[in-house]
Amino acid sequence: MNLDLALATAVAGIVSGSYYALLGLAIALIYRTTAVANFAQGELGTLGTFVLVLYVSRLPLPPGWQLVLSVLISAGVSAIAYAALMRARPGADALNLTVRTLALYTLVHAVTLYFWGANEPYTATGLFGEGGIDVAGFHLAYDQIGTLLIAAALGLALFALFRFTPVGLAMRSVAMNAEVASLLGVNVGRIALVVWMIAGAIGALVAMLIAPVSFLGTGLMQPYILKAFTAAVLGGLSSFPGVIAGGLLLGVIESFGATWVSIHLREPFSFAILLLVLLFRPAGLFGRQQLGRV
């Protein structure tokens, strides 16, 4: 393998790794605050992308505002989903709450299929235009640069939110221990709502980044959602930077695996990585082992 190919593989891996990382972050956020593996995360993003491409893009607004508007719509949908599904019958166990997100996944998928399934795949125009730049003989597409910039900006924004704002502090406290946080006066329900909104926004943004580089169809996010889960578990759900590292790592390793070994073994390869990591570190690469108490 020559250097150019290795570099191209690495960049492709980092780009897809940043999708996994951001989605994984959304999943970890929801898991830490509401103890639910949100299987509908990807489909909600697909829904948001369809809304952007087919409806919002026809509004007389500059493209940037169209994007912001669709992301806000997605956040709203996610909040409604939380309020309607997770708040009802709060006594249910985590297994039941998880199956509710699966039901939501089924519904969102059925809805996208009903309205837009017949004419797929659609083409989504890239957010950053065609072409690219050459750096020292190495080609970087605008899409790749833009994706990396947006992912980095989003990651920094989330970090700032957690670190420097009262809401972020409340979120971290709920993630650490919801019961204690509620005793200390944090409105856990409201924090969970905010978390679902943020996760919805992240999911939609990732889907809108993916749509131009792949076909926009009803199955847009399906290949990514498992990777996002894997990234979240790899990094250790208790550490948000860990999830980002897990996503990038998964993307790069998988990209090299696909280039070196075989494209068909991409999924089995990432599964093998997941198993290997969990074999030696059951709490993930950066997670802390939770001690059980009787």
């Binding site: 593996a37 009802a88 297994l95 699966l102 089924t106 059925a110 759900l237 075989s262 073994l265 599964f271």
Partner: protein, 327 residues
């Protein structure tokens, strides 16, 4: 998180051992009637009933792991895949007769189940859900990648002779017998030492360990039994349809089985039968609505799991209790 010790006796229906013997004869009688009724109706209704029983058998297995053991298993479709593709490979490539192929595939699936259960020794909740989910998808990708298993189209089984026996009724009777046997097995297992151990592990693993319960053994046993029932269902499905396509046994099937157990009522003996009836019947009943059918199904799915966390059977039980309390 402080866990509560559930030392009081579980509800009669949840605990197989305390169910009166009359319940057993009712069940056998009910199945005999169902079997006769199924043999008398036309081909299409019988196909739907067969599908229901096949899914029931598979869901019974998943219920052992998820309902009683509270171990997240989102790759149950993978066990059905092992059963179906094992049957197809044994029949097509090795020339085994159909019954031997199904049983061989099911025995092999036990090994697979125990191996898949290994992560459950150390992992919990989210991580376990993702590992099992990824297992199902990996198997799906693997059979699609290799020509030996038919690649993306899958394999065709020459089971025409078997399907035609008794005017297509033999496989229906086999399904009835298997479903009854599966119920009996789950009843025995959950009412025995294994069932009690699994329930205690579900409620608090540390306590179970301190009581000297071999946690590892029971977790693996639960996965092995689940794989056995799942693979038997998968093998039967292969014989019934004659086609073993990867898409049939993809991640959607795992989700469907998970849904069936949760909709029917997790940790209840008859829950899987009710849940399987839901996931089979609703799409069939709403066929006339065409494109809307999936949305109707999804809405019903959401309503049931959100409003009745204990599933349909839990809803019926609590409704029954409320009726009896009011004279």
């Amino acid at each position: 998180m402080t866990a509560q010790l559930e030392l009081e006796a579980p509800a009669p229906l949840a605990n197989g051992a305390s169910a009166p013997p009359r319940a057993a004869s009712w069940t056998v009688g009910g199945f005999a009637l169902l079997c006769i009724a199924g043999a008398l109706v036309g081909d299409y209704p019988r196909y739907v009933l067969t599908l229901w029983l096949v899914y029931s058998v598979s869901a019974l297995g998943l219920n052992l792991v998820m309902g009683y053991g509270k171990l997240y298993s989102l790759g149950h479709g993978g066990f059905m895949l092992v059963g179906a593709f094992g049957t197809a490979v044994a029949m097509n490539h090795w020339g085994w007769p159909a019954p031997a192929a199904v049983i061989g595939a099911a025995l092999f699936a036990i090994v697979v189940g125990v191996v898949v259960g290994l992560p459950a020794i150390r992992l919990k909740h989210f991580s376990l859900a993702i590992v099992t989910f990824a297992f199902g998808i990996t198997l799906f990708q693997l059979v699609k990648a290799f020509a030996y298993t038919g690649g993306p189209q899958g394999l065709f089984i020459d089971a025409g002779a078997l399907q035609a026996l008794w005017g297509g009724r033999l496989l229906w009777v086999v399904c009835c017998v298997l479903a009854l046997a599966g119920l009996a097995m789950c009843h025995r297992v959950t009412g025995s030492r294994t069932g009690r151990a699994l329930r205690l592990i579900a409620s608090n693993e540390t306590v179970a360990r301190s009581f000297g319960i071999g946690v590892t053994f029971y977790k693996l046993a639960a996965f092995g039994l689940a794989a056995l029932l799942g693979a038997l269902a998968g093998g039967l499905l292969a014989l019934i349809t004659g086609i073993v396509a990867p898409e049939t046994f993809g991640p959607d099937l795992s989700i469907l089985m998970f849904a069936a157990v949760m909709i029917g009522g997790q940790g209840r003996l008859f829950g899987p039968l009710l849940g399987a009836a839901f996931v089979v019947a609703i799409p069939e009943l709403t066929q006339d609505a065409r494109a809307l059918a999936q949305i109707i199904y999804a809405l019903l799915f959401i309503i049931v799991v959100t409003l009745f966390p204990e599933g349909l059977l839990g809803m019926i039980e609590s409704g029954w209790r409320r009726l009896r309390r009011r004279p």
